[in-house]
Symmetry: C2
C-alpha cells in the first residue's frame, strides 16, 4: 500500500491524494469539499456524516476495497447508540482514509446546501449566514501565564475555526466566566460576521456543545403591510411567514401623507416611529410563536423598506423625502444592534441589517427586488414590477438597469378597497366570473376547492369568508371587465344593463355582490364603484412608471415581465394585463414572482455575501425620479381606462376578448360611446 490514497468526493467530483490515515473531514477540507462540522472534528455534532462507496467505480476509475476506511470506532458507536445514524454512514471526523475511496457527502452534511421550499415564494438560497454556531475548547487559566478568559476564548476561536479578532460586548463578558466553567472549558458560540471590515462579534454563548436553533427574521416593511419570514439560520428553512397591517396607516395611507403628518405635527415622526416599532415587536413575538421558537433565538433581522419607512423605522424625520431633491439621510446599507431601534423581545444581542436605498423615492425594498430577481444578470430586457403602496419598478438587462418607484397607493394591498383585507385564511384570492350568467366562483386562502366545488362549504365554515386580498382584487376587477360588468372607462353597469341582480345600486353608482354571507352572520363581499376607481388610479400609476422607464431606455416593448407583490398569493399575469397594470408583453413571458422584496430580504439574511453583492449592484442602478417627470403624468392620465386606450394589447387579444360595453349612469360617470374591439 502506498503512503497516500486517492479520495473522490461526490456529488462535487472533487478528488485528490491524501496521506494514509487522514480523517475524511480533513481530506474534505484540504480538497475544498463542502463538508459541514460544528464541533470541529470532535465526534460530537455529527454534521460531517458521509456515505462511503465500496467496490468498482468505473466512472471514477477506482476500486474501493472494504477496508478503504478505518474501522467503525467507539466515538461513532456512541453517537449512533445515543442519537441514531442511517446505515452506511460514517462520521467524517472519525473515519480515516486507508486506501482509494469514493465518498458521498449527503445534502444535510453540506454547509452550503441548496434549500428548496414550497411556499408563496420558492427559492434556492445558498446558505452562508452572517451568524453561525462554533464549538470551541478553551485553554484553562494559568496563574503563571495570566490572561483573561475572553482572550483564551478568542485564541481558541482563531486556532480552531480561523475566526480572528472576535469581539464581545459587556453583556457577553458578564456571562463568559460562568459559561466556560459550567461547560468545563468547552462552549458553543453564536458569532456574527460583521459587514465590510467590522470585526466578528459573539452574540451568545452556551456551556459545552449546543445544537440549539439560531434564527433570523426577514422583514418587508411596507407602507400598508409588514410581512416577515422567520428562517432557520442553519439551513434557511422558512419556519413561519406572517404579517400585519402597518399601524402608521392611521397617520396617513400613503407615504406622502405620512411625510405631511411629520411636517405638520411636531413629534409626529417620533409617534410614527414608535407605532411601527411596537408593531414589529408584536410581529416578532407572534411569528416566533407560530414557528414554535423562542423570540430570544432570533439573532438577526434584515429589513427592506421604502425610503420613508426606512427613515421612520430608524427614527429619522422623513421630511426631506417629501420635497425635492428628496435627499436621504443615509443611502448605504446599515448594520446596528436591534435594540437601537427598540426591537426588545428578540435576542438582546441581535443585529439588524438594512439593505441600501437606491434614491429618495427608490428604497431598500427595490434593492431587495433587484437582489431577488437580478435584472442585472438578465440576457433579455426584463421589467420587474413589485406591487405595493409604492410600486418598485426595475427595467434592465446585463447592460443597464433603471429603477423607479411609483405611488400606486394602498389599493392593491386591499387598504382602500371596501371589502379588502390582507392575505389570511378566509380571504378571497382567486375569482372567476361567468361571462354569460355573471355568476362568480372563487377560492379562499386556506381552502383548496373553489366555491362551487365539493368540500368548499366545510372548509369555509372553518375559515369564514372575510374579504378580498390583493391578488383577489386584481382578479375580480379584471373578471368584472371580462364579463362585461365593468366597461372600458371603469363604470359598473346597472342590474338591467348587466343583466344580474348582483349589480346593486349604491348611491348614484352600482356595486357588484361577490358573496353574501350575511345570512350566516358573515359579511356581504362587494366590489363598489369606488373600489374600481381606486384600482384604476393604482394601475395607472404602475403602468406610467413602467412606461417612463421604457422611455428612458428608449424601448417600446420589453422581453419579459415579472410581477411581484408583498402579500397574498401570486398575481395572475393574465388578470394584471387585462387590468392594464403592465405594458404589453407576450403572456407566456409574464411571470409571477411572489414576494420578491421579501425574498431579497431572505437572501440577505441567509447569505452574508449577498449583502456586499447588492450593495455593489445598487451603485450601478440608474434611478429615474417619477415625481418631477412630466411624462409620468402624461402616461398616468392616458392609462386610466381598462384596457388602456394607448396600448392596443395585441398579445392579450389572443387570449381574452374584452366585451365592448359602455354604461352611462346618468350621473356623468364615464362616456356612452360604444366601440368594438377584438
Amino acid at each position: 500500500m502506498s503512503a497516500d490514497a486517492l479520495v473522490i468526493f461526490t456529488p462535487s467530483g472533487k478528488r485528490g491524494r491524501v496521506a494514509i490515515g487522514t480523517p475524511v473531514l480533513q481530506a474534505a477540507r484540504s480538497l475544498g469539499v463542502d463538508l459541514d462540522s460544528v464541533c470541529g472534528g470532535r465526534g460530537i455534532c455529527s454534521k460531517c456524516q458521509v456515505t462511503p462507496g465500496f467496490g468498482d467505480f468505473p466512472k471514477h476509475g477506482v476500486h474501493v476495497a472494504a477496508d478503504a476506511l478505518s474501522e467503525w470506532n467507539a466515538v461513532e458507536e456512541r453517537y449512533r447508540s445515543k442519537r441514531g445514524m442511517p446505515d452506511g454512514r460514517r462520521l467524517g471526523c472519525q473515519a480515516c482514509v486507508m486506501g482509494d475511496v469514493v465518498i458521498d457527502v449527503p445534502p444535510e452534511s453540506q454547509v452550503h446546501k441548496q434549500v428548496i421550499r414550497k411556499s408563496a415564494t420558492e427559492r434556492h438560497i445558498e446558505m452562508d449566514p452572517a451568524t453561525r454556531l462554533y464549538y470551541v475548547e478553551v485553554a484553562e487559566p494559568d496563574m503563571h501565564e495570566p490572561s483573561g478568559d475572553f482572550e483564551r476564548l478568542s485564541a481558541a476561536l482563531a486556532a480552531q475555526w480561523g475566526v480572528e479578532g472576535v469581539t464581545a460586548d459587556l453583556a457577553i463578558l458578564r456571562r463568559l466566566q460562568g459559561v466556560l466553567r459550567k461547560g468545563a472549558w468547552k462552549a458553543t458560540l453564536a458569532v456574527h460576521r460583521g459587514n465590510h471590515d467590522a470585526a466578528p462579534r459573539i452574540l451568545d454563548l452556551w456551556p459545552g456543545f449546543h445544537d440549539g436553533g439560531i434564527y433570523g427574521l426577514a422583514v418587508d416593511l411596507g407602507s400598508t403591510t409588514i410581512a416577515a419570514h422567520v428562517c432557520d439560520l442553519k439551513d434557511g428553512r422558512v419556519l413561519a411567514s406572517s404579517g400585519l397591517m402597518n399601524p402608521q396607516i392611521r397617520f396617513g395611507e400613503d407615504l406622502m401623507s405620512r411625510v405631511s403628518y411629520a411636517m405638520m405635527n411636531p413629534g409626529g415622526d417620533v409617534e410614527m416611529t414608535r407605532a411601527v416599532r411596537e408593531a414589529l415587536n408584536a410581529l416578532a413575538t407572534g411569528i416566533a410563536a407560530e414557528a414554535g421558537i423562542e423570540p430570544g433565538a432570533i439573532y438577526e433581522t434584515v429589513f427592506v423598506c421604502n425610503p420613508v419607512m426606512h427613515h421612520l423605522l430608524l427614527g429619522i424625520d422623513p421630511v426631506e423625502l417629501g420635497q425635492a431633491p428628496f435627499a436621504l439621510a443615509h443611502s448605504g446599507s446599515l448594520s446596528f444592534d436591534a435594540r437601537e431601534i427598540g426591537l426588545s423581545n428578540i435576542n438582546p444581542a441581535a443585529r439588524v441589517y438594512v439593505l441600501p436605498c437606491i434614491a429618495g423615492h427608490v428604497g431598500a425594498d427595490c434593492a431587495a427586488v433587484a437582489l431577488s430577481e437580478q435584472p442585472d444578470k438578465s440576457e433579455d430586457l426584463v421589467l420587474i414590477v413589485d406591487v405595493g403602496t409604492n410600486a418598485e419598478i426595475l427595467l434592465g438587462n446585463r447592460e443597464k438597469v433603471l429603477a423607479c418607484s411609483s405611488p400606486t397607493g394602498p389599493a392593491f394591498e386591499g387598504a382602500q378597497i371596501s371589502s379588502g383585507q390582507r392575505a389570511a385564511p378566509g380571504a378571497i384570492e382567486r375569482v372567476e366570473i361567468d361571462p354569460v350568467t355573471k355568476e362568480p366562483r372563487f377560492r379562499i386562502i386556506g381552502v383548496e376547492p373553489w366555491s362551487d366545488e365539493p368540500g368548499f362549504a366545510e372548509g369555509a365554515a372553518k375559515t369564514g369568508i372575510s374579504g378580498i386580498c390583493g391578488s383577489g382584487i386584481i382578479e375580480v376587477v379584471a373578471e368584472m371587465r371580462m364579463a362585461g360588468i365593468v366597461d372600458a372607462s371603469g363604470l359598473i353597469g346597472s342590474p338591467e344593463q348587466v343583466g344580474t341582480p348582483r349589480c346593486e345600486p349604491q348611491g348614484r353608482t352600482f356595486s357588484y355582490l361577490l358573496h353574501d354571507a350575511s345570512v350566516g352572520g358573515g359579511p356581504r363581499v362587494t366590489v363598489t364603484q369606488g373600489d374600481i376607481r381606486a384600482i384604476q388610479l393604482a394601475k395607472s400609476a404602475l403602468y406610467a412608471g413602467a412606461r417612463l422607464l421604457m422611455d428612458e431606455m428608449g424601448v417600446e416593448r420589453v422581453d419579459r415581465v415579472t410581477l411581484a407583490g408583498a402579500f397574498g398569493a401570486h398575481i395572475s399575469p393574465k388578470h394584471a394585463m387585462v387590468l392594464g397594470m403592465i405594458p404589453d408583453a407576450p403572456l407566456d413571458h409574464v411571470t409571477s414572482a411572489g414576494n420578491a422584496a421579501g425574498t431579497g430580504a431572505r437572501i440577505a439574511l441567509c447569505n452574508v455575501g449577498a449583502r456586499g453583492a447588492i450593495e455593489e449592484t445598487v451603485r450601478h442602478i440608474h434611478k429615474v425620479e417619477t415625481a418631477i417627470e412630466p411624462r409620468f403624468q402624461e402616461h398616468f392620465v392616458n392609462a386610466s381606462a381598462i384596457p388602456n386606450a394607448v396600448d392596443p394589447f395585441p398579445e392579450l387579444a389572443k387570449i381574452v376578448t374584452l366585451p365592448d360595453v359602455a354604461f352611462n349612469t346618468g350621473g356623468g360617470e364615464g362616456g356612452g360611446r360604444r366601440r368594438r374591439r377584438g
Copy 2:
C-alpha cells in the same frame, strides 16, 4: 526670481523648496511640519497662525525680503478685525510663499504641542487625542445623482481630511439632515478614531464652523478613592481634578472583602456595580461644574483601576478574582460606549477606553503606572510603587519588567485611620515633630504657611483642620518614630516615657495628640495605637511586594525608587523610607511621582497612540502573583518593625538617626528590650 523658494520652519528646523505661490500651510504639510488647522485652510479657524521672519538669518544662510510672503489679504483682515490676531502673525492658509522665507510656528499653532502644567502631577503629554474636531464642506444633494447626506458627508471627510470610512450611529443620523441644512452644507464634526482597526465614528456634529470645547475624563478608580481629571482634548490642559470616596467601601474596605460580599450575597456584585456607577455620574457632574464646562461636552473617558474594580465597573461578577487561578474575564484593553456602563450625564455618544489588565491581581492601574513611569524605557533598575488600597509595584529596566500587586489595605488612603481623611482643604498633609519638645508643626492643604508660621491661623480659619490625608499619615508616623514617640516595634510611649502630655492614655495603649481644635468646636486630631498598627500592616505588605520582585529579579538593591499615590500631595521619600515602606536606596534616588496611575490615564486620554503602546508593553510585563508566594508571607512578617529589622537602612542612617526606644505597656504589646542603633 526662480520658480521655487526656500522655506525654513522654526522651531523644528524643517526646510525645503516649494513652488512660488504655495500657501504656507501647504508648504508646512509637504515638509512634515506640525502646523494645526481645523477648517482645512479656509481662513476660518485661525489655528494655522505663523510668524514670518524678515531680514538676514545667518544661522539659516538666507536673507528674507519684505515681500517674501504674499500681501496681507482680505480673509486675514476679516479674521483680525473680528477676532483679533497678534502683530506680525499671518494665517498660514492665506499667506503664500513668494521668496525665501523663515517661518516660526508658535506653540499654540502646533497640533502636537507640549503641554506643561503645574499641578500635583506635572507632565508633558504629546497631544494626539482619539477624538478631534473636523470642519467639512459637504456637497449638496442632487436629485439626478442621488446619494444620502451621510454618504456625501463621509466623502467630504475623506477628501478634505483623509478620514476614510467614517461611521455614525442612529442618534447622529437622526440629527444629520437638520445640521447640514442649518449650516448651509458646512459642518463641524467630532470624530473618534477607533482603537485597533475600528472605523472612525462621528460622536457629535454642529452646523457651520464650531470652535466649542471637547473634553475628556481620566479616571483612576481605586478601591477607596475615585480620582478624576477633566482635560481639554484640544490642548491637554487639565481644567479640574476632583475625587470622592468609593461608595463600595460600605460593602467591604478592601478588595477581597468586596469579592466575599459578591460571593455571599446573591446580586451583591450588581449592587456594588450600581454604587460605583452612581458615584461616577456624580463625579462627572461635579468635575464638569468645577471646570466650568457642560457634562455633555465630555466625549471620552479613560479608566484605570485594579482588576476587582475593573470587573465591578463593567458589571462582571468578580468572584473568580477571589480564588486561584485568579482568572480575569477579559484582560485586554476595552473600548465601548459610555452608556453601556450607565455613564448617563456626559455626552450620550461618549466613548470609554479601559487600559489592559496585567493579571488577576495586577490591574489596569498598574498598566497606567507603567505608561506614566515607563520602567521599560529605563536604563537603570527602577522600583515603582503606587500606594493605594492595593499597591501596584513595578520593578525593571529596558531588559525586563516585573509587576505585582500587594494588598496594603486602605490605611495609606486614610480609610482605616482614626483621623484619616481624603486629600481636601483642611487636611493635614505635612508634619514635623521636634525630637526634643515632641511638639508638632504641620501644614494643611489649602494653606501655605506651616502651623507655627504667621498667616496660618487666618488660613486655617477658612478651611478648618479636619484630619490627616494619606501623605500626612506617612509623615506623622515616621516623625513620631524619629521623635522617639514610637518605638521600633510600633508602640506609642506613655506621657511619662515620652515626656509629653500629647501622649494620652487610650484604653490600654496611648495615642498622640497632633492637634486639638475642640475648643473651637473642631476635632481632636490624634494618632492612635490602632493607626500605627494599620500603617505597619500596610507598609509591611508594600515592602514585601517590592522585595518579592527583587527576589524574582535576583537583586538585592535597586538603582532608584519612584513613589506614587493616587491621592494627596506627593509622598515624602524620606518619611516613606523611615517607615520602611520601600527597600533601601540612595535617598536622592527616591523620587515622588504624584498620581502616576492618574497620569497614565491622562496620557491614554490625550494620545491615542499611547493606548496601542501600553497594550504592547503590558504583553511583555512579567507578572508575579503575591497571593500564592510563600516568600511574600515571609517578607511581610519580617517587615513589621520600624525600621525594618531585616534591612539595616545604611543609606537612611546617613540622614536620620532613629531613637533607640522601646516601650512596654504592660499589656504584652511590643517587647521591652533596649537596643542601640546608629
